[in-house]
């Protein structure tokens, strides 16, 4: 899990602890759900709770590399919305679905590149930039499609977003998410590129002096994020068989929550794919369980908000405690000096 993280052994141990805690919590939710709530452990229900988190999972994986470098991309759900609206407009205009998909994927990449230009090219703060594009892309989605809803997407492709692997309850989109997560794990944890992401997050200047092409890697992360959000839009549009400008609105917060709850530091430089995947499973299971017990949306939002605060708070507190424990000479982030 955290072995690839480099020298800070104490840090590694803390991360392992965080993820262990997450896994325990996750297992607890599923076991508790199965015991307490009729229908929760149903094959159909497990399949549904997985497929219902497809888009959030893709957006979280899109965010992960960016957050590792210490930046943020809040525009992911708006990219999804714009791409869905574009899909609707093009489909309505009579374009073939086979042609729409590559156009939409590349549109997503272009929207990511716009973020990259502003953040990397002009050196603007990513929080401000992507709050701006969050509004901008969502607005453009309404320009493209208005408040219409386009439907009637091909019966031949829709099963890709809804069907299960024959003989199992595993939805196809979940399989695709698992594939993306595996790929992300390899890239992030086992390649020089992945190590560069961590290095940038831990100290941009140090990374640059070590010969890491900071600008290029960050730009790449934004472009990939845009493209992944576009993939999520295709799944979303097919799954609901409905293209609308408001598709996926608000999902960015859920995705950010999953990334942070997964143990990824908002300041960059630490976090694992396994952590994020566990957090996604935990959130999907919890949400479904709360639904089945008729817990209202408002309470669910409260719970999500608390989880988010806890996930930001706990690492800071453990850091503080361990620093104090080691007394003088201990540095808060040993990996920063390198």
């Amino acid at each position: 899990m955290g072995e690839e993280l480099g020298p800070g052994r104490q840090l590694t141990r803390a991360l392992v602890r965080w993820e262990t805690a997450l896994i325990v919590l996750c297992v607890l939710v599923f076991v508790l759900g199965a015991v307490s709530t009729a229908g929760f452990a149903d094959r159909d229900n497990i399949g549904f709770l997985l497929v219902d988190y497809t888009e959030v999972a893709l957006l979280a994986l899109a965010l992960l590399p960016i957050v590792l470098t210490g930046e943020i991309d809040l525009s992911v759900a708006s990219v999804l919305g714009f791409c869905s609206a574009l899909t609707g407009a093009l489909w309505d205009a009579g374009m073939s679905f086979e042609a729409i998909v590559p156009v939409v994927l590349l549109t997503g990449a272009v929207l990511g590149a716009v973020n990259a230009t502003l953040v990397v090219g002009l050196g603007l703060p990513s929080l401000a930039v992507t709050i701006g594009t969050l509004g901008l892309y969502r607005g453009l989605a309404y320009v493209v499609l208005g408040d219409r809803a386009v439907t009637g997407f091909p019966e031949s492709y829709r099963p890709l977003a809804t069907a299960v692997v024959p003989g199992t309850f595993l939805p196809l989109p979940t399989l695709a998410v698992a594939g993306c997560a595996a790929l992300a794990a390899v890239v992030v944890h086992a390649t020089p590129l992945g190590r560069s992401l961590y290095a940038i997050g831990l100290g941009k200047r140090t990374a640059r002096f070590s010969g890491i092409r900071v600008g290029r890697i960050k730009s790449g992360a934004y472009v990939v994020s845009g493209a992944l959000a576009a993939v999520a839009s295709v799944v979303y549009t097919l799954r609901y068989n409905s293209a609308r400008a408001d598709n996926g609105s608000g999902l960015e917060l859920v995705a950010v929550a999953a990334v942070l709850l997964g143990g990824v530091s908002i300041f960059g430089g630490r976090g694992t794919v396994a952590g994020v995947v566990t957090a996604l499973l935990l959130m999907a299971g919890l949400r479904n369980l709360l639904f089945l017990n008729d817990v209202t949306n408002e309470i669910q939002n409260v719970i999500n908000g608390l989880l988010l605060i806890v996930s930001v708070l706990v690492p800071v507190v453990t850091d503080l405690v361990s620093t104090r424990g080691r007394r003088r000479g201990a540095v808060r982030r040993p990996t920063e000096i390198r």
Binding site: A38, G39, F48, V120, A149
Partner: protein, 360 residues
């Protein structure tokens, strides 16, 4: 290496891939013209037995467009009243935003909870369709109310009011209030609002009958369902048409704004105002004499009817076929129309003597 250089390269690469991919994809493929349409949901095939007893212990769930909307809550309270009156259990669950797909998770959960009937006001007729079809395939009765889903995904749609009746009623009301002669104007929502335009169409049709030959519709103004703009439009109408006798505002925003202007102007009591409004918004204007009588369907009756329809479907008394008769408690009976549509009935009118019976 510079930041700008690397970004430019990334953008160029992206653009390059984009162009080649579009070329590769070509023009052939699945378009909306070749895509087949959906089949109807495959619920268990049964025939209606109008004399079947109402099953006991049914679980009926109402899914409004959004959970915090007072109008929708009134509708659902009516529905839950109907359901508990039949000694079944009813509940209201739903999303806190009215976005397209947020209802799907709720519907799927209700299927998992083995509810006997789901009553839903669809935010997006197509987005909810697959989940509703799944529910029907599992033997759950599906009713839509207020806002329909794709017809093949539900058995019955309970429509709040017949558009024709809504339009004609408003003309009847204004004619009563101005004594059958004089100039009137309409204060509508936006120029392309579907509902309002349909109603205005029926109003003009009604005005063309000999009964109303003394009434002249001189203008249709648009307040865009914006309170302030509707207020200003009312003022403009009154000033530019000195002998205006009455205003019809077929929108709850418009009628409330117009009433507010009239109530503090010298035209109060001299120019009649009617249309579609909610009792809570209009109460003070009815009591101070600005407005004599206005109309709207009763949202709690809409829910009540939907609740009865759900219980009847779940008990096998109806199946949603045209011509079947639904027994709906205090509302009497309703005959199912074309495409499984049940109409609540003519709009309810509210005046000083009845308005305090309504709170929504």
């Amino acid at each position: 290496m510079t930041n700008t250089g690397s970004t430019r390269r990334a953008v160029l690469t992206t653009a390059g891939i984009a162009v080649s991919a579009v070329l590769l994809a070509g023009c052939a493929g699945t378009t909306k013209h070749s895509a087949s349409s959906d089949g109807a949901a495959s619920g268990p095939v049964t025939s209606a037995n109008p004399n079947a007893p109402t099953k006991q212990g049914l679980k009926i769930s109402f899914v409004p467009k959004e959970i915090d909307n007072p109008y929708e809550n009134t509708v659902d309270r009516g529905g839950i009243d109907a359901v508990t009156g039949l000694r079944e259990t009813g509940k209201e669950v739903g999303p806190s935003d009215a976005s397209a797909s947020s209802q799907v998770s709720y519907i799927t959960t209700l299927v998992q909870q083995r509810q006997d009937a789901i009553v839903v006001a669809a935010n997006d007729p197509n987005a909810v369709a697959p989940a509703l079809k799944d529910a029907r395939a599992k033997g759950i009765a599906v009713v839509t109310y207020d806002s329909d889903a794709a017809p093949e995904a539900r058995q019955v749609f309970v429509n709040q009011a017949d558009s024709q009746e809504v339009g004609r009623t408003q003309i009847r009301l204004i004619s009563e209030q101005i004594g059958g002669t004089g100039k009137i104007a309409i204060l509508s929502a936006t120029p392309n609002a579907t509902n309002q335009n349909t109603w205005i169409g029926f109003m003009k049709d009604e005005l063309a009958t000999p009964r109303y030959k003394g009434i002249e519709l001189v203008r249709v103004a648009y307040g865009d369902d914006d309170d302030q703009k509707s207020f200003q439009q009312t003022q403009a109408l009154l000033q530019s048409i000195p002998d205006l006798k009455g205003i019809v505002a077929p929108t709850t925003v418009g009628i409330a704004a117009a009433a507010r202007y009239l109530s503090s102007s010298p035209y109060k009591g001299r120019v009649a105002l009617t249309g579609l409004g909610t009792p809570d918004q209009m109460r003070q204007f009815v009591k101070d004499g600005t407005v004599v009588r206005f109309a709207l369907w009763d949202p709690s009756q809409l829910g009540y009817l939907a609740g009865y329809a759900a219980c009847a479907l779940a008990s096998g008394q109806i199946t949603g076929k045209q011509g079947e008769v639904l027994k709906a408690g205090k509302l009497g009976t309703r005959t199912i129309g074309n495409h499984g549509e049940i109409i609540l009935g003519p709009p309810t009118t509210f005046d000083a003597s009845t308005i305090d019976n309504y709170h929504f």
